[in-house]
């Protein structure tokens, strides 16, 4: 429950910011209002649940992982937007939403890659310190 809540708040903050910027850039979209906040809350809740479940699955196949992630995120985002009525169903909107999902997914993955590289670097330093202290003593 705790990890779900952390995921939820993180996702909620990120998606709110992304949506606020998107409405600001795209003039066709309505102003950022309570409907968007509701949309973001539902999307964040569902995505956090999805992330929490998949985290426990410990998936091995990278292509399958990325494909499943994008399909599920797209389905959640698009369905929620249609149900709430912020986005009408059209080929253009499907493509636009899909591209936005892929773009945000790539950005988040790159940030995650950077964090992982930093973490591995820190671990290697700690192991080296530990080895110097323990093995050579």
């Amino acid at each position: 429950m705790r990890s779900w809540f952390i995921l939820f708040t993180t996702t909620f903050t990120i998606t709110t910011l992304v949506l606020a910027v998107t409405t600001w850039f795209i003039s066709d979209m309505a102003d950022f209002n309570s409907r968007y906040v509701l949309l973001v809350a539902i999307i964040s809740g569902l995505l956090s649940l999805f992330m929490n479940v998949t985290y426990r699955l410990q998936r091995e196949n990278m292509i399958l992982t990325v494909t499943t992630d994008i399909i599920i995120i797209f389905t959640v985002v698009f369905s929620a937007a249609v149900i709430i009525g912020t986005l009408p169903i059209s080929v253009g909107n499907v493509i636009l939403t899909f591209l936005l999902v892929v773009l945000i997914y790539i950005i988040i993955t790159l940030i995650y890659f950077f964090i992982l590289a930093k973490e591995a670097d820190d671990m290697n330093k700690k192991i080296l310190e530990w080895r110097n202290k323990h093995v050579d003593s």
Partner: protein
């Protein structure tokens, strides 16, 4: 601290005698180190019983209820469950990295963080081992905390 070696053919077994007025951190480190280099474990290879030094162990793996010990060049079998070895070797800073594997962290060459929240360890023997999500936290904590040598 001073030390001397009494080299004589009549000494059939190596013995270390520490003369001190009190147990200090340095003494603890020294005795732990001696324990570590002199501690052996009973193993089996091709139906032959033998003892191996724990310092030579790179990792211990449990495969289908069989426990195997891997050193730089050889593989041995142990007729004991992994959890029992884990308890025994905890004092010598062996670390559990997944459900099946217990490693000697002295043989870690490098660590790579994987996308699925796991670590991939490259051992000095060029073997790659995985630290699963479940053991990731304790693995990180092990290197943060230091260990018995920091006594």
């Amino acid at each position: 601290m001073q030390w001397k070696i009494d080299l004589n053919e009549k000494h059939k077994e190596t013995q270390v005698i520490i003369q001190t007025d009190k147990i200090s951190d340095t003494i603890t480190k020294l005795t732990t180190f001696i324990d570590q280099i002199s501690y052996t474990i009973a193993v089996k290879k091709a139906d032959q019983q033998m003892n191996i030094d724990i310092v030579s162990i790179i990792y211990i793996e449990n495969i289908e209820r069989m426990t195997f010990i891997y050193t730089e060049l050889e593989m041995f079998e142990v007729e004991r469950p992994l959890y029992e070895l884990e308890d025994e070797l905890e004092a010598f800073e062996f670390v559990r990295i997944n459900k099946q594997t217990l490693i000697n962290p002295r043989y870690i060459k490098s660590v790579k963080a994987l996308l699925n929240s796991r670590f991939e360890l490259l051992m000095t023997s060029s073997e790659k081992l995985i630290v699963t999500t479940r053991y990731r936290k304790s693995f990180k904590a092990f290197f943060n905390e230091g260990g018995v040598y920091d006594a």
